[in-house]
Amino acid sequence: MSSATLTASAVNNAARRGNALGRRLLIISAWLVFAFFLLLPLFVVATEALKQGVGVFVASILEPDAISALKLTLLAVGIAVPLNLVFGVAAAWCVSKYEFRGKSILVTLIDLPFSVSPVIAGLIYVLLFGAQGFFGPWLREHDIQIIFALPGIVLATVFVTVPFVARELIPLMQEQGTQEEEAARLLGANGWQMFWHVTLPNIKWGLIYGVVLCTARAMGEFGAVSVVSGHIRGYTNTLPLHVEILYNEYNHVAAFSVASLLLLLALFILLLKQWSESRINRRKASAGEE
């Protein structure tokens, strides 16, 4: 068939059919990639955990060492996340509301922990506070233990999660500008009133989003905590470290049972994330209408 005999509409139809086919192929391959890379690992965790029945699964989770690991993880997260929450708000505030020299350097420094290996994050605290570290002799004199104890675990967790809240808030607050705050000030609000009644409601969902991401990482941190924890069972073992110990002891069912507990937490976090994200979008949409 020569091209001259094709009418314009036929060309169009052919192109559209080609597009539809390409589109279907792309969607199918996206599904395959998704199933292969993301769904299969989930499926494996669940099946391995339940291999010997629900009884063994429940027993592995309720075992005293697992419970104390869970408690330690929650405690470390409970200290690290609020610290980084306050830092994130302060950092986002000064970066987004003012212009000053060196701002881009400051933003780079805030992001720095993302490109440092977690193992190095642990290492630097060992060099500072370990028995042979800079402060080692002084700490021993005063009977303070940081490495191989809770403070070390908290420090390592804080380090790897420093950027999360700030990173979510900075673009959001930059977009919002300073007009509303200025209006509040002109109407006589003091600094705190302005923050509580104007800024905070505006950034609420972004804040929740950042905290959710921060919590996920804090709860799952492995490399950094592994360096500073010392792996003392029942004392300085977090949940991810407990998974490692069980796995290395060839107690696979118990390892996957505890892992599936962490997986459930991760899925819950994704739900929270989705929810806060949809609230941010809704807020943006309603702001656009006004």
């Binding site: 003012y98 000053f100 993302f114 977690p118 193992v119 420090l155 380090f159 200025e182 799952g220 492995f222």
Partner: protein
Amino acid sequence: MSRRTSPVIPGFGLTLGYTLVYLSLLVLIPLGAMFVHAAQLTWDQFWAIISSPRVLAALKLSFGTAFLAAIINGVIGTLLAWVLVRYTFPGRKIIEAMIDLPFALPTAVAGIALTALYAPNGLIGQFATSLGFKIAYTPLGITLALTFVTLPFVVRTLQPVLADIPREVEEAAACLGAKPLQVARHVLLPALLPAWLTGFALAFARGVGEYGSVIFIAGNMPMKTEILPLLIMVQLDQYNYVGATAIGVLMLVVSFILLLLINLLQRRISRS
């Protein structure tokens, strides 16, 4: 340092001060201390540590697998971002929500799950075994683990950029007679490349330092499947703090140079 644009809004000194003190105490001073600690070594001693065959093998493995994983993510991440932004189809919301799973899932969990999957008798590993090769306990397994943990980076950096390119631009190009590949090359590629590089760099940096997901699937054989972060751990377990510090400094410096190069490339692209 203070050049305020909005003098009405209070809190500049407080928030900047707090940010600087917090960052210095928790991040900058400890990182600096590592470099000070490394300075105990003479240049020759430092060189002897980082040029030992075991360190060089680990260096090649870590950066090589992280690079490969970032490339794989560059491809499948672009596919996922494109499909999620441009098409509506059954299950779109599920994929969209689950893309971030690798960030939410503790890396140790990812590590043992992938090992169970790709081990010689595992769900996928058994097919490899019958074909006569291994996935787990080889660099291939390490690459797959890194691909999993860094999967969201490229998708999440491309999505907003893709959503911002008006479809009319592509349609206009197509109406003017451009073939789909020409549209991709002349319209989409220049717009997407800077974001793509950002995603690539983030995935690469994370992959180089990644520990938890890799150590289970790697097999950790010195010279063959031993990654740099693990080598630091090995030194620490032997109380060889100087060795650990030297490797740590090497890792930071090499990653920093690579990120700088990617940054420069990005600037050149967005300028042209």
